[in-house]
């Protein structure tokens, strides 16, 4: 079992940093390279959401990413202390975005690329996204 924690300001430069950390830790487990690519997308979406929506693109909010690798898989928790989500169910719907340049697919990508996604949010207080990617049998065979 291994555990890493990263806390950074809500700046776009740090999305890549969180992705690198996820790829590095997942690389210690029996994940295939395509698995790791998908984990990177999910982490990128969660951290981007924290910056864009949680802090409304303000660059001075804290985002915390905690990742835990065990024999069965990788758990990723992304937390912000921003505005929170008023209606989580609605936010998880595809194409829920008021910006035409954004797809509104962040949660869809997280759900599709991970084996489980929990979103806990308190309006006005912040959001916590927990997702888990399992190491599949195919990944084991690839080793």
């Amino acid at each position: 079992m291994n555990r890493v924690q990263l806390r950074f300001l809500s700046q776009a430069d740090n999305v890549g940093l969180a992705r690198l950390m996820a790829a590095g830790l997942a690389g210690q487990g029996n994940f295939t390279l395509p698995d790791i690519e998908e984990i990177k997308v999910a982490v990128s979406e969660a951290v981007s959401n924290a910056i864009i929506h949680g802090y409304d693109n303000r660059p001075d909010g804290w985002v915390e990413v905690v990742m835990e690798l065990d024999a069965q898989g990788l758990t990723v928790v992304v937390e912000d202390w921003g505005v929170g989500i008023e209606d989580v169910a609605q936010a998880r719907e595809p194409a829920f975005s008021d910006d035409p340049e954004r797809l509104g697919l962040g949660f869809v990508f997280m759900e599709s690329f991970m084996h489980g996604l929990e979103v806990a949010s308190t309006f006005g207080k912040g959001t916590r996204v927990r997702m888990r990617r399992l190491i599949t049998e195919i990944s084991h065979d690839a080793q």
Binding site: A12, V15, D99, E101, R102
Partner: protein
């Protein structure tokens, strides 16, 4: 992220190098809009050979350019799409809207092997 452009027949080819995410979305959008406004008689061919990562922020830029060019009777095509990027494009359904030329599965591995044949 770096961008290199060239004119090829009816196409404006723009080769992008780097990750397409929240950090690069706005600079990429601005660069593409500037280029497509400068060359108004060309379709856009976005070369993603050197792009190893795309998330929904990057896809938003691609889809936004598709909408913008379509309104002007122009098209956007993607070339050099890597398997990892292809998975994201397919999940978003973009492959059914925009013409895409993929890089064959495993080609990244083959490219790194020593060359044993010089003739093709």
């Amino acid at each position: 992220m770096t961008i290199v452009h060239a004119l090829e027949g009816r196409y404006l080819r723009v080769a992008v190098k780097g990750d397409l995410d929240l950090k690069t979305a706005i600079p990429l959008r601005e660069a593409l809009d500037k280029l497509t406004d400068r060359y108004r008689d060309r379709h856009l061919l976005l070369d993603l050979t050197e792009v190893g990562f795309v998330d929904s922020s990057g896809l938003g830029v691609i889809l936004g350019r598709h909408r913008r060019l379509m309104a002007q009777g122009r098209t956007i095509s993607l070339s050099g799409v890597r398997p990892s990027v292809k998975a994201v494009l397919e999940l978003a359904g973009i492959d059914s809207i925009i013409n895409i030329t993929h890089i064959a599965e495993g080609s990244e591995t083959r490219r790194n092997r020593p060359q044993t044949k010089t003739s093709t």
